[in-house]
Structure formats: C-alpha cells, structure tokens
Subunit: 220 residues, 2 copies
Amino acid sequence: MGMKIYGIPKSCATACIMTCLGEKVIEEYELVHVDLSKGEHKSATHLAKNPFGKVPVLEDGPLTLFESRAITGYLCRKYKSGTDLLRNDSVEEAAMVGVWLEVESQQFNAAIYPIMFEKLMKPFLGQTPDQSVIDEFLLKLGSVLDIYEARLSNSKYLACDSFTLADLHHLPYIHYFIKRTPYGDLITSRAHVKAWWEDISARPSFVKVAQQMDARPILN
Amino acid sequence: MGMKIYGIPKSCATACIMTCLGEKVIEEYELVHVDLSKGEHKSATHLAKNPFGKVPVLEDGPLTLFESRAITGYLCRKYKSGTDLLRNDSVEEAAMVGVWLEVESQQFNAAIYPIMFEKLMKPFLGQTPDQSVIDEFLLKLGSVLDIYEARLSNSKYLACDSFTLADLHHLPYIHYFIKRTPYGDLITSRAHVKAWWEDISARPSFVKVAQQMDARPILN
C-alpha cells in the first residue's frame, strides 16, 4: 500500500510534508484532497485519522500519523534517500537541527502564525483582521529575525552549513508572508536572512510545491 | 567537562530536563541557577548561550543547546542508559512518540500555557490575571483532554504502552496546574487521564524534581 497524504497544498503544514517528500526523492504517494471549506477535516472519517481535526495526515502502511513536524521527522528517519535532513551522522549537527527545529516551532511560528491568521485566514472566513494583533506580532517576528540574521551571518543554514529540516519548515509560511502580505521587507531587509531565503526557496523540491500553493484560486 | 544546566527547577522547561536526566540515570551534572527575578536570563552572558534569553540551556562538552524539547531529544538520542524514552527500536512506536511529542507542544501546551501565565506568572509580575483569557483556554484545554481521555482508554501511555518522552513533557505543567490552580478537576474528572497522571507523576524521577518545584518560596 503506497503512502497517502490527506491535506491540500495550500496548507503550509501540508506543503512542508510535500517539500520533505521532494527532498527525500519520494514520488510514490497519493495526495488525498481534504476540502476544508466543506469542513471535511471535521468529518467522522477524518477525525478517526486525526482526532484534532486538522490536516495533514500521513498513512504509511499500518501507520496513521498527524502533526506535520512529527510526519517530516518520521519520513527523514525512515527514508535514507535524497537529502540528509537530520544530519544524524554528526552528534553535534543533529543536536543543532533539533534546536532550530524547536526555534521554528516555538519562536518563529509563534510570531508569524498570528499575522498570517489575521491577514489571510480572517478575510477568507469573512472576518475583519485586527491590525493591533498584526502590529504586536510584527514586532515579535522582527526580534526573532534579528536573531536569525546574527545566526546566518555565522552559519550558512540555521542548524549548520547544510540545508536541513529546520530550514525546510520555514518555507511555506515565508513564501505566503512575502507573496501575500505587505510585510515582506522584514525578510528582505536583513541581508543574511534574504540570502538564506533566496537560497532555500530556489530548491527544486519547494519550487514545485510553491506552484501548487499559488495555483488559482489563491487563498486570499 | 561535565554537563551544565542553566535554569531553575521551578521553571517547567528546566524541570523537564531534570526529569529526563533522572530517567536516563544521569546524575553527573551541575545545575547553574539563573535568577530570573534579577533578569539574569537577559544578561549578555546568558544571551551568548541562548539568544532568545530563556532557560534552560544545556552545555555538554563543546555543545551549547537551548529549547527544552530539543535538549531532552538530544539527551535521549545520546544516552542509552535508563528508560528508553524514544522507542527507536520500533518504527511504529518511535513514530507515535513523535506524534504525541508534537501534540504536547502544539495542542496541550498551547492550551495550558496561557492559563498558567495568567494564574501564576501575572501575580508574580504584579499584574492582574484576565479571567476571560483563562476561561477561553480552559475550554480549549478541556477539548484537548477529551481527546487524551479517548486515547488513554486504548493505550496505557500517550504514544504506546510504555512511558515515553511524550508523557514526560506533560509532568511539570500538570503538577503546577493541579497544585496551584483551582482547575485540577479538568485532569481528575477524566478517569483515564487521572489514572495516567497518577502513574506518571509517581515516577521517582519526577517525585524528586517535584520536591524542588514545590520548595519555598513557592512561585505563587
């Protein structure tokens, strides 16, 4: 039984999984579209796969996995093909991949998600964005990116001098942030962050996924 | 050079590291107290270890690591002693440890943290708790715990039938939640969650850490 991903490419979390599969040169999988606008992610069928009612879900043989960061970790541990995204051959590099994966989750995502929710999701849901929330989290995101700028002036990528899963997890959100909000200069005004972004976003694995993220109808 | 942990046992994240070290039967480490009330976590010395200005930090030989979930993952990968907290001998169990580690981070912590911040940290900082925030997140936490109750009726622990790092990461926050807030019945009114809590909180590794979390002066 081949792998199945339940989700949509326009979901950042699903886009992470698809980019990871690209890096691991895994082409044999089926993307099963979950129509969020019809609430399919809250259906009994989907809740049986992920009780939290979210996408993506990965089915691989007898395993049903959810939480995108758990899924990419699983794929990287199981499949040795393609890019070595966890750097497990080096205790030091693997440790730093772990640190910067958590930085993405706890610091970067915590700052960028509320902005994206206000700017993209609220209009989609027919609600009005709250500019005070956006302004608050733009400040927080700027502080996080100041730390990234310092880090990337000493290290080609976040964890080490190789592209890893820690970099990969940033791709979909920054892509939308630059394309769909007026705040992209938070990325492009920082020289090392800009160079890092131009490098990682040009990887063929992501270029292919980004095309699907941008396909019409666009999210906003 | 022995390991050094920079933090305080009253910090939930530091308490996680100490509990993990207990499970791995690692006793050779130094706990270097960082006085948060004096802002030592924002000092240049500490910012050189963790640019985000938070505790804990782990120094192990040439490595300086931050983000508590990255630190416990590192300890479990590096040290084979004591409890097998990642279950890497089984692809299926290791995958489920990954899923439930992320559930703790993205669902459980996202719901319980704002309650703890309002109830414990705000009074400590001389601020007034916002009951509407508490009420909002109590509802979210209840929904998360409903899913835990269903999971724990089919599985002795969250990831599988063995105690893993996914369970461990819940210990400090639930300990404070029951001891220091009036909302502990969210845990104890759910039969399987209650039995799981009584089991995991009785582990010697945590009993020892909990004594330090509760030492006077208490946080609130």
